[in-house]
Subunit: 297 residues, 6 copies
């Protein structure tokens, strides 16, 4: 029974909710094994839960209150020390359990590698939208093939490349770019977003969505500029502005959404908890919008 | 005599000035009692004074030099440990003493609660402009009624709500929003500022000012985006850009200004003293503009 | 022989390159003697080299890969403890040695004072472009005349003021402004860049470049807004956005470029290494563009 | 019902225990209102709980295992922002509730002021042993009379001075020393402990214990030398060594013990969590000894 | 060829030495995968190398100068991200290569798990002395069996328990203690060292050494009290004093020594680099003593 | 007039005293130019003054109260940026001015180099006692001859070596040791103090004092073990315990004392302000003892 695999923590925002009140399950996956420049993402679930207490819970945009339905906080998965593959399997099973209960998982990483666990949720009708400064599409990284730098490549091993959309791209390798072009993977660079604004891109996204019945959103917080999100392991300059980020996220949060993750938040390197607050805000705003959708039904 | 209540500190920017040279009195009010997530604002007056030494003192915008007239630094109030009400009274008396000397107080918090002390300076002919991510209009917060989260409500207990203008709003509770609507309090969200730019809002502010003989400005530094001002206790994403902030502050700094406070700067959580520098810059630019106005006379 | 004066370090980005592969020589000049508010720039060369490992090396803008030609990392100069003049001479000799080998120095400070050493590279046909929040044009600073606050004045002692262009200006003294006006030195304030965008300024720069056969670029990282670059000793609010910064740097990086320095990065005060990453990105992007130019020939 | 006043947290050491397994109740009292030099003790309960996970749980000294009976973690009291008196009352009621259930409270501060709440547990048959660098016996501190610097004086207002024993004393005011002498309060300075070792003092303590039926132990962690316990708000050099501290604590932990508190741990100022670890170790060792005593019965 | 596996770094203390000058090879093994409370040991080799520049190099005790023969710094092993077993094998091969060259490896961790790689150097004639607060003798830890908490158990899987000596023990589990007793493993607790001083224990160690032809010393820096060595991942109070630590290390450093490691230094959690300095001091003093022994021959 | 050279700061401990009340003048000399490993001593005078507010002011040892006579705080010298020699001269003049007023200077560094300025106070009847882990007796350090590593050698250039006594020695170079032996300079290693305790050494010091009419004490805080004083630029393990330090300082503080300095405190690297507190304690205890001596007269 998967519940045994998770350790109950002080819940997100200090808000105790029952499963019945919301379709959203928050699950922490503090995997932090393959970044040797600056570990610290293992602290993210706790940091995000904690700062959420200090944020306000009414959404001026979605005109709803987070405290009404909130999220159900499953706690953090108890990971195996030093084992990547085993942990990905563990996380996968948990996500599948959540799916089986017809609930929508919001996963808090940990490193981006945890998104590999989500690939079990994806099928050919799913659009996978990845906010990230990077592609994470290397085939191998320092002789390892399941890492934060290869995670999207591992996903594409069993997933249609054309179902992928990258947003915020700016830091790539030649190998990755060749792969992207060869496989006709779509990406929107942060430079183009800065140059042209978000309106057109938001429209494009909406158009693309029409072709898919499901959406999964993976948010590597380093998509946002390190000026706003310094708490990351690999700060890449020239990112996207949070106002624009939320503008691009908005069309993706709707009844098609089957899951979402927020990864690579590194509280050790943060300034004033700004990055954790950004992550908590994503949870709150998305949950309010989704809860309203499901309550109307 | 109020001077006994303040402890002289190394003055703002290291600049020793006599009272005669300027109408502005700087006073530190390091009250830091009601934020249990992240205290630290008690350090702000000292941090702001210190970083001011490293900033340049000529204003390209107002074409004047801060070192000419500067400000008179009264030092920091010696507060009673663990007493909110008593400290608000103490601060009030000091502000009234400054007013009595026909001087303009620039108060450095401390938490936003210190603005309650300023309410003694306000009358029906005063426009109270509050830069803040929040409303601070709760009636009660964790069973206490004088806190950083309720301070504006306490002010409104004895002040006409329509004389209030909030700028930078983005983090509210349902209760506060209901109160604001019921009392027709005007607010400009940071989202609208981001969407439309400041020109129109600056004109609106100017129009509104015409109806009032006096202005008091309270600046909760968390109005600014945590990307630029990470040194705050409650970082709320999606704030306003400093260029825009100064554009909106400009029309408020004129001969009608009877007082100004800068609150919620938390040096413990800052990055590179950027938030303290922003606060010091507000003091310097505003003082230069005001000193020029009063010297011309 | 100058090579004796430099201590080999773990190279920039961990990338070992031979001199033959590139015309660019990276040299660290960790001088940190005249800033008494917040030393720390002595740590910059090491921090920038280290974070470069975590950045990606393909440039989407210049369509080239840093790992192909890279830079040749000369290591760090071993400075004399507590001696400004002697160290400037030492750095000058090193830069002249690099010039003699027909190579282009990319110097990593240290404080801005190191640019005085570069003045040996300049002649009347050289445009000196300085990105900086400040002018650094005081004649004396606390009774010393070779400091981070007077370095540009010392350069102008033997250099035509009209060959100077400041970009990002916002923090000046009256004395400096008078000097600038009297000597018709051109400057572009960060406020104008924010108000009008970069297109027109980029064109102006290109027009100005036509008159000169050589360019030297000195980048005081505090030109960038402290929101994006908090790791500086004197954070001045209201700076330029990194997207705009790179837009203005682009026209300056071409076959006329004879040298470039990045100074005032202070890793102690940084958040999430964002400022060091920005500096490393400048090196990478500029090197890719230059290497492509020289390889085509 | 007092349970409503406490918020369940992730339990001490991550060890979920039922009330039946142990007589000890851990309760967090994160009061942090009267220290204006360096707040931070509000973070102590969470930090101590967390580091306890990393400590080992078998006691070589008492030959028992903490995981067997452990402690029951009641969570943290939800305090009123900015109210000292009200919070002391709240804490008192909670402690009395615990006493009523015939349980032994282990309270984690917060500032030393919380011990005033414990005075409700004391009677004339109780020996109050206070480990502290200070006496905290001032009558008033900056015009306030319930503070971390006056807490023992407030206790003595209603408690027999001769029932007090201070250990670790080294930082006193003339006023306090006069009071101590006048009231024949016993104290053991850290200097004498350093000079003579603990054997004789431990014997003295045992002799003194014979006269009392009950013991309450209050541990201001600053009794320990700041070399070992840097995470305190007022580091006083020349304290006691942890080995000696545990040697002096040992005779006090027995069936007479009616309560214990550990206060003034300030995680913000700690090094490597050493101070939090020391506090957690006190809880673990004392619980093991007590649980064994009560299980034997 | 193993040299390909190591990346040359700026050498220990900045001292470039040839292999011929000394029999000692320093090798960094920054493995940091199985501690999820507080990673950071991956930074230790670089931190220890760097602080060594600031220490003096003459040993008053051994009357020799480190700069004379020094050590040969092989650099750091390039580890596979997220792979424990593979990395242990990689480290083993490197240590065997060093052994093959008849050199003595001084390994800098990384977590204690790296000592498992050293077990390839051990045979029945080797005494393995482990300075550690812990036994690290669990059979499994959170479902993993190669971790910092199980490393000694994995070694004992293929090594005679009676060849083990633990020094500094104070934090154990019941399971470990049972195992130790059953297997008659010798250990000296830090408490006994504190109570009785080191003279007798040093004599015991010397006596024990007589039975063995070889010694390997593994130093988990948490053996030392966290007051002196706060930069560790699991600070256990009541450790040993550095003066005593060096007194107990001295008899172990002689011609029988076949290898030594220093592990669990965590620079992120250090205070004033004191823990890194302690590690560097161990390298310097031990190298001086050994170099003198081998030079005399 | 020298007073112009000093900038008044918020006084030591917040205690405003007139010159008449005490013979002791505190002067800050925040020189921080020659340590390139870890600058930060420039912050020491401010940090020491500030923490002094949190310490208690009654001395149990000397039975006197610091607040009675205290010290007169002259403020901090305004140093020339980047100039060693000039600053030493400036400091010298200030010390001579203080001497001329028949006052006793207590100087707070800054780096140890400032003690060179004190050499103007010394004559052949003066014993110079230096607490230090190091000798600072190199003739040259990285081609500079006035640095923190050569300061004692510069003093000895014009001072009788036999009038020197080093206490706490443990980190030396071969060159220094040779010089010490050749010049018969006396030193007491920290190792001998640890081995034998302080009684005998204190007696030796007293005997030595008899031969001199004057004493100057220079305290490089790194004499103390980095466990207790981590806030230093060059942490050397195996130092002296603070209890022992004060025991050895005591015989030196008497009517022969003509000056004292406390140097190398580096607040950036401190833990919980423990090192600054130690420095402040030295000022307080020494001032109480001296004030009592001079008041009795
Ligand atoms: Mn990613
Ligand atoms: Mn990424
Ligand atoms: Mn507010
Ligand atoms: Mn606010
Ligand atoms: Mn500059
Ligand atoms: Mn600048
Ligand atoms: Mn206390
Ligand atoms: Mn205390
Ligand atoms: Mn271990
Ligand atoms: Mn251990
Ligand atoms: Mn020294
Ligand atoms: Mn020293």
């Amino acid at each position: 029974m998967w519940k045994l695999r998770a350790l109950k923590k002080f819940p997100f925002g200090g808000l105790y909710k029952n499963k019945e009140e919301t379709k959203i399950s928050l699950i922490g996956a503090p995997l932090d094994l393959t970044n040797s420049h600056a570990p610290g993402t293992y602290l993210a679930p706790e940091a995000i839960r904690r700062i959420a207490e200090s944020l306000e819970w009414y959404s001026l945009l979605y005109e709803g209150d987070f405290s009404e339905n909130g999220i159900y906080d499953e706690g953090d998965l108890v990971l195996f020390p030093g084992k990547v593959r085993e942990n990905i399997d563990l996380i996968s099973e948990s996500l599948l359990d959540i799916k089986e209960e017809k609930r929508i998982p919001f996963m808090l990483g940990g490193e981006h590698t945890v998104t590999l666990a989500s690939s079990k949720l994806l099928d050919e009708d799913t659009l996978l939208v990845v906010f990230d400064a990077h592609f994470d599409l290397r085939d191998e990284y320092l002789n390892s093939n399941i890492t934060h730098a290869t995670v999207m490549r591992r996903i594409v091993d069993n997933f249609e490349p054309k179902n992928l959309l990258f947003i915020g791209t700016r830091a790539v390798s030649q190998e990755e770019l060749d792969f992207v072009k060869k496989n006709q993977i779509e990406y929107i660079t942060s430079r183009r977003i800065w140059l042209y604004g978000i309106s057109e891109f938001a429209r494009n996204i909406e158009r693309k969505l029409e072709k898919f019945g499901k959406i999964y959103v993976s948010i590597d917080i380093d998509a946002v500029d390190p000026g706003y999100a310094p708490g990351v392991s690999t700060p890449e300059p020239l990112g996207i502005d949070p106002h624009m980020f939320f503008g691009l996220l908005d069309p993706l949060v709707n009844e098609k959404l089957i899951g979402l993750d927020i990864v690579e938040v590194n509280p050790i390197r943060d300034a004033g908890e700004a990055t954790s607050a950004l992550a908590a805000k994503i949870v709150i705003e998305s949950a309010i919008k989704l809860n309203k959708i499901y309550n109307k039904r």
